[in-house]
Amino acid sequence: MRSQPKKLLRRWSVLSSELMWPLAKPAIGVSGKTGTWRLQRPVFDSSKCIKCRLCWLYCPDSTIDINEEGANFITINYDYCKGCGICSNVCPAKAITMYPEE
């Protein structure tokens, strides 16, 4: 009768008493790979980028990262980018273009 709860306990390998509090800890991808939600994807053209950082600032999902050094000033985390298009909309240099996701 308690077999299912025991399975859950083993799966999370936590002390059973800790398990009984309604607590959670920060985790990336709590909703899974939200990149699969995309209908369109942002594509970055590094040659146009003026390093204003507005895309990073406004991205609602923290999926744009800034690389202070290196060829590409930003990288987009496509595992989690939801394809909202805000980065493309705010970019003053038109360095990000939205393309339909396959």
């Binding site: 959670a24 609602p60 805000i86």
Partner: protein, 296 residues
């Protein structure tokens, strides 16, 4: 001295892959809270979109310490928590992150009580102008004429002026902000966090799903709200009202963009009439002139 975008912390408090809709202004706002307050913040969150955005336990898509609480309780819980931290000599900035429902409607009593007592907390109202989490029902913050699932022919009442109500509570700090102006919001939040007593920040948060516009336009819409004068950025320290720089140009009504532009871009105003547009224009003018009279 305005904060330089380069100096904003990069630590992620909104983690990739949370449950927010694409283009969500609450997700955006929470990132700004993380940039403003970082590790110092403890959030108290009543029922609303952000309750869901956190995602499913035992995981959380947000990296703040968060106490989720019943709808009508947030400011009281925060007041208690703030008191406990003081008693224990532990530094913390206790922030209520509540939607317009949890602030202006079901949460109104707890908000007003905490403000009147000058409890040492920050209350951020993240205002998407309807009960979005339950599926776009009208709130007191829904503007006149807007469609919602409980106002199919448009809301008949005007938006309840919460910032002015909070001003009349005579609390140390009242401000409005917008997701389109993150530096302004972050500065206001940091300033509030250095003050004692009750601080109120009303964050305008256009919702693509509820207002019916493309998710890429969230920032654009928030900016247009300011540019048409429909949303006014100001702050009041100790009751002294000052219009914030992004809104200053629009004190002059000739510089405001026509509100028709704003209304035309949102599906929730699709069936709006001329009369209502005229009424909204009048409200914008009245709001501005009242606020300007309150400035020093």
């Amino acid at each position: 001295m305005p904060i330089n975008i380069k100096d904003l912390p990069k630590e992620k408090f909104v983690l990739p892959g949370d449950a927010a809709c694409p283009g969500c202004p609450e997700n955006m706002g929470l990132r700004f809270v993380g940039m403003a307050l970082g590790d110092k913040a403890i959030l108290v969150i009543p029922a609303g979109c952000t309750s869901i955005i956190q995602g499913l336990a035992p995981g959380s898509g947000l990296k703040f310490p968060i106490l989720n609480v019943p709808f009508a309780s947030s400011d009281s819980v925060a007041a208690g928590l703030s008191s406990a931290k003081k008693i224990l000599g532990e530094d913390a900035v206790v922030v209520v992150w509540a939607g317009d429902g949890g602030t202006a409607d079901i949460g109104f009593a707890t908000l007003s009580g905490a403000a009147e007592r000058n409890d040492d907390i920050i209350h951020i109202c993240v205002d998407n102008e309807a009960y979005m989490n339950t599926g776009i029902q009208r709130s007191s913050q829904t503007p006149l004429g807007a469609w919602t699932t409980t106002t199919w022919s448009g809301k008949k009442e005007r938006k309840k002026d919460l910032p002015l109500i909070m001003l009349m509570h005579r609390v140390p700090y009242v401000a409005t902000a917008s997701v389109a102006y993150p530096i302004d919001f972050i500065e206001k939040l940091r300033k509030a966090s250095t003050m004692k007593g009750f601080k109120y920040i009303h964050l305008h948060a256009p919702c693509p799903v509820g207002w019916r516009f493309d998710p890429s336009l969230t920032v654009f819409m928030a900016r247009l709200a300011v540019e048409t004068g429909m949303w006014i950025l100001f702050e009041a320290e100790g009751g002294r009202v000052n219009i914030s720089p992004p809104s200053k140009p629009y004190a002059d009504k000739n510089r405001r963009k026509p509100i028709r532009e704003y209304l035309a871009m949102q599906g929730r105003f699709r069936d709006i009439t001329e009369d209502i547009i005229k009424e909204l224009e009048k409200q914008v003018e009245d709001n501005w002139s009242l606020l300007l009279r309150l400035t020093t």
